[in-house]
Each structure stands twice: as structure tokens, then as C-alpha cells.
Symmetry: C2
Subunit: 160 residues, 2 copies
């Protein structure tokens, strides 16, 4: 079970590098609990996934999350998907290496069009802390609730 340690940044502009792998992601939330625990369905490329995430420390801003994922069959996904109505996100994810780390840039679609974020995953909290964001990264939004996908899916884009 992966322990997810990641930092997240806004991007004002983004030009995918030629090496980037692009995948369409559609995800919908079956549940979002007050403590931040989420249960989601995700279609990523050809993959269908049921995932549960839970913050190790429910306090805001903790970059460490527990994630459990299991593959679903197409029919299972299709039958469960309607239960995510009103809590969905569609985005294109570009994955590539930059500044010595793997970066996932998410370009949101639909009602969230205009939002772009970059996520970097780390093996340890020490590595996460040591990371220096490249110039083309904007404001850091790690742990900022308004920019969590579960919030974007239900509340839309932040006001400002």
C-alpha cells in the first residue's frame, strides 16, 4: 500500500514537453468524509480503479496519505459511476520528468477549465521538504482544501 507524500503547485501556463505522457482522467467521488477520507472511482486511460484515501494525520496540510487501489471491471465501474453524480472531475494528466523528479501536470476540463496544477510525489518526507520548485511552478497549494480534487469536484473552482 503506497504512502503518498506529495506537494502540489498551481501553474499559470503549461506547455507539455515532448516526452510527456498524456492520459485523460475522469474521477468521481462515492464518498468524502469530514476527516478527509475519500472513496473514488477513476478512469485513467484504459484503467478503471476503485480507490480509498485516508490522511494519516487528519490535521490539514499533512502531505502523507494512505491510498488503497483496486482494479474494477468495466461493468462494475459503469454500475457504480452514477453514484458519483455531482462530485466529478475531468482532467488531462501529463506525466514527465523535470528537475530530477516525476511531475504530474493536471489540466482541468469542463467546469474547472483554466485550472492547471503540478504534483510531485516523493519517497520520504525529507525528500518532500528538500524539493525546490522550478521557476515555472506557481503558488504552492499542498494541503489547501480548496484545491483538493474532492473539493473541486463538489464546490468547483475557488473564488479568487
Amino acid at each position: 500500500m503506497p504512502l503518498e507524500i506529495e506537494r502540489k503547485f498551481l501553474l499559470s501556463a503549461f506547455e507539455p514537453p515532448p516526452t510527456a505522457v498524456r492520459r485523460r482522467i475522469e474521477q468521481g467521488y462515492l464518498a468524502i468524509k469530514a476527516d478527509g477520507t475519500e472513496v473514488r472511482l477513476r478512469r485513467i486511460g484504459d484503467g478503471l480503479v476503485l480507490g480509498v484515501k485516508r490522511g494519516v494525520s487528519p490535521s490539514a496540510g499533512s502531505p502523507v496519505r494512505i491510498e488503497v487501489e483496486r482494479a474494477l471491471e468495466e461493468r462494475e465501474f459503469t454500475e457504480l459511476w452514477p453514484a458519483t453524480e455531482g462530485a466529478r472531475v475531468v482532467k488531462d494528466r501529463y506525466t514527465f520528468e523535470a528537475s530530477g523528479v516525476i511531475v504530474h501536470v493536471d489540466v482541468y476540463r469542463g467546469e474547472l477549465a483554466g485550472l492547471r496544477t503540478a504534483e510531485v510525489e516523493f519517497d520520504s518526507e525529507a525528500a518532500a521538504e528538500a524539493f525546490v520548485a522550478p521557476d515555472w511552478f506557481g503558488a504552492e497549494v499542498t494541503g489547501v482544501k480548496a484545491y483538493k480534487n474532492q473539493t473541486l469536484a463538489t464546490a468547483g473552482l475557488p473564488e479568487s
Copy 2:
């Protein structure tokens, strides 16, 4: 993916038949949605399961539910279990054949002690409708919200 068609009855008394297989079930809910969709963790005997159930017709009383289940590793289960606090059920399940059908009798433990139910699963709605409950079954509670495990886990025993 199993389509679950079942009927559920209260039992005033229960003496397990010698052929019954007994398993302890501990289950906790990660999420219970307004439409009845539930996400649960279940320890049944040695098995650890993540399950999602969704009613095909969200209208009350429909006996047909979609169920998706996936095995979890012990560590995954342990890490996610705390998120079910305040929404748990412990019961002993006795499974055996009676009146030509497979019956699951649940004898609840802990705060729900005293409650006993019998569940019968069917292959079709026609079979479910044709089923005649044996004498030792009490009131039918199929689809009755107060006796759903998700309600018992959060609200406790019904008043009456």
C-alpha cells in the same frame, strides 16, 4: 459482480443447527450516502474485504443491490479501519441450508446484542417473491432502513 437479491427477517430465538458454519464478522462503514450507497470494510473469518454496495433503484425497499468486493491486505485494512469509528457492527454469522435455501443468521454482539436476523439470498426476483418463510422466521424487514446494517452501525437498535 453479484447482483444481490435478498430478503431479511427478524428472529425471536435461534438455535444454530449442527451443520451451521459460524464466522465472526466485524464491519465498519467508510461511507454511507444519502442514496444508500455504502462503502465498508469487513473482516469475516480470516478474510478482509473492501466493499461497495449501491441500490439499483434508490427507492426504499428494492431488494436488488449491486455489490463490488475486493480483498485487502492486513496492513491496508488496519490503516483504513480507524476511519470507520462510530459506524461499526460486530456479529456472528451462521450459514446453513434450510427449507431448500441458504440462510445466513446474524447474531449481533456488543451494543446490538439481542438482535438476530435471517437473510436469504436469491438468484432472481421471481425466486425471492416465491419464497415462503419458515415458521421460525419472525417479521420481514427487507428494505426496512432501521434494520440495515449501515443504520444499525450508526444509530443502534430501533426503539421498539
